[in-house]
Symmetry: C2
């Protein structure tokens, strides 16, 4: 369930655009006005506001915002204002350009979206970057990560409910065999994770747990830490339980040494219209503290206000 709250009646896109223009005018910027508008509009409404702004002022709203606000607040507002597919394309490009093995953004985009949404990201990537997503991923990553990430971002998984039980059993055994041999980069293991439907994979993982007495992700833990194993675990968690995966990203972002604002902003903006309400419930159960209070404790100012708006605070 989405956390975003949109008022029952909203002004027209051109009225919203006009108010935003006012927020930019004069001495200083009216950040509260920006939040009260953009923080309470759906993707379709934000798109209409951008269009109205362009028509009225012959300028891109995102560009105007870029000139007015800064820091974590700016990043939150810009990411949020983008269309979901554009936002993912932008985040994927950033992840590719600055690629590091511990980066999970490409895995999230490939696995915690529907097949149609991932394809929309690939279309948005063409439009914005004049290259394909898989082309950039393949050119900027190497080794085992490339073997995993290129098919992940290129997948168009089947989304029906049909499950092949025999296949689930044989592939659970195959996964167990490769994992027992520590052949984590084996092409059959990667084939299974990158091509099977989510429903089929969940069946396979359940069978793994039943037959071998441990969840597959437990068998993929390692000591010392290994980024590729962590990437495999993230893949599996984004497929099986995106809410719990994202709860953990938020938890680590808040509990770490200093706040990881980029991770916090990413999850809040990406999931506010999807399932942030569920993620917040999981967070509260796991941490005995409302997510809202945790965010208040770790952030401040306009950035805090923007995150709280997306979390569902009334305008």
């Amino acid at each position: 369930m989405a956390s975003l709250k949109v008022p029952a009646t909203v002004p027209s896109p051109s009225e919203d655009a006009e108010q935003l223009r006012k927020a930019f005018e004069g001495w200083g910027t009216n950040e509260g006005l920006i939040i009260s508008i953009l923080g309470h509009r759906s993707a379709a409404q934000r798109r209409a506001i951008r269009q109205a702004y362009r028509q009225s002022y012959n300028e891109e709203l995102l560009k105007a915002l870029d000139g007015e606000i800064s820091g974590d607040f700016e990043r939150a507002v810009l990411l949020w204002t983008l269309d979901p597919a554009e936002r993912d394309a932008w985040l994927a490009n950033e992840a590719v350009r600055k690629w590091r093995p511990e980066n999970r953004v490409l895995i999230e985009i490939a696995c915690a979206r529907s097949s149609g949404e991932l394809f929309a990201v690939r279309q948005a990537y063409h439009a914005r970057f004049k290259r394909s997503l898989e082309e950039d991923v393949a050119a900027h990553t190497t080794g085992d990560f490339r073997k995993l990430l290129v098919p992940l971002v290129s997948a168009y998984r089947y989304e029906g409910e049909e499950i092949n039980l025999t296949l689930a059993k044989s592939e659970a055994r195959m996964l167990h065999e490769k994992i027992s041999d520590k052949a984590y980069n084996h092409e059959e293991l990667i084939r299974i994770l990158t091509t099977r439907s989510k429903a089929q994979l969940i069946k396979t993982f359940n069978h793994y747990n039943d037959e071998f007495g441990k969840p597959v992700n437990k068998d993929l833990k390692s000591d010392p830490k290994d980024d590729f194993l962590a990437a495999l675990r993230a893949t599996i968690r984004c497929i099986c339980c995106p809410e719990r995966y994202f709860e953990k990203v938020i938890r680590l972002a808040i509990n770490g040494l200093g706040t990881d604002e980029n991770a916090l902003t990413r999850v809040i903006t990406i999931r506010a219209e999807v399932d942030l309400k569920v993620i917040a419930e999981v967070y509260q159960k796991r941490n005995s503290m409302p997510l809202e209070r945790a965010i208040k404790g770790d952030t401040s100012g306009d950035y805090e206000a923007m995150l709280l708006a997306l979390l569902g605070q009334e305008a």
Copy 2:
């Protein structure tokens, strides 16, 4: 340019459906009537006829055809009657189920279609086979072929005209290095062929020719024959010059020991609404004989008549 000839005025879809029903009735089948209708209708018109047939007779037209006709004629009519994306999905599934290293169908579908057309094939594959295309390709192929075919069928190549000249030069050198080392299955070689845009690849191949004095495909020739090298050459030809590639498929289908009807039917049905007129011109230049005459010499009966209709013979 398409070869298909559609009359200036065509009957309504339900009139066409009624005529087809008549062709199936009574003693024997009126094959000529089937050809005169289906062999002269566009994809959109055939789709409307199938719909009208279903509404009028509560039966699938393809199923009715299946009961009435047989052999090469049946295969030609059924493949032709399908929508392009459905046809490709059907051919891809057949190629996957009976996969052999010399099979080129998956390469053709991946490389001699636009990015949007390939994606439509993947959607049609979901709808018809309840699995994803890349999932089946990955599960049924092995070794180097899997390394090539899975990214090929999963690609969504950028289609703009932008070219990076520096990249074309460096990747031409990289291709030359791998080919000189006989590292034909090297992941960089496969990355380049499977992810770069067609415009970029054509520039890269041109640069290869300029710098190393030979077309890349000449350097990929081998003696004795090697199916994987042939697959790489087919990939390159489908990207650079699909008309010449398909002319060669037709030529080999006709000139071989006995006619390869499946290959002939495939190319004629797939390209009749795309560029079969150009392919026929290339054929005539290369073989000093009109394609029409070559087909007349190698086929007979209703099958011959159907192919000639798709080649542009008037109804």
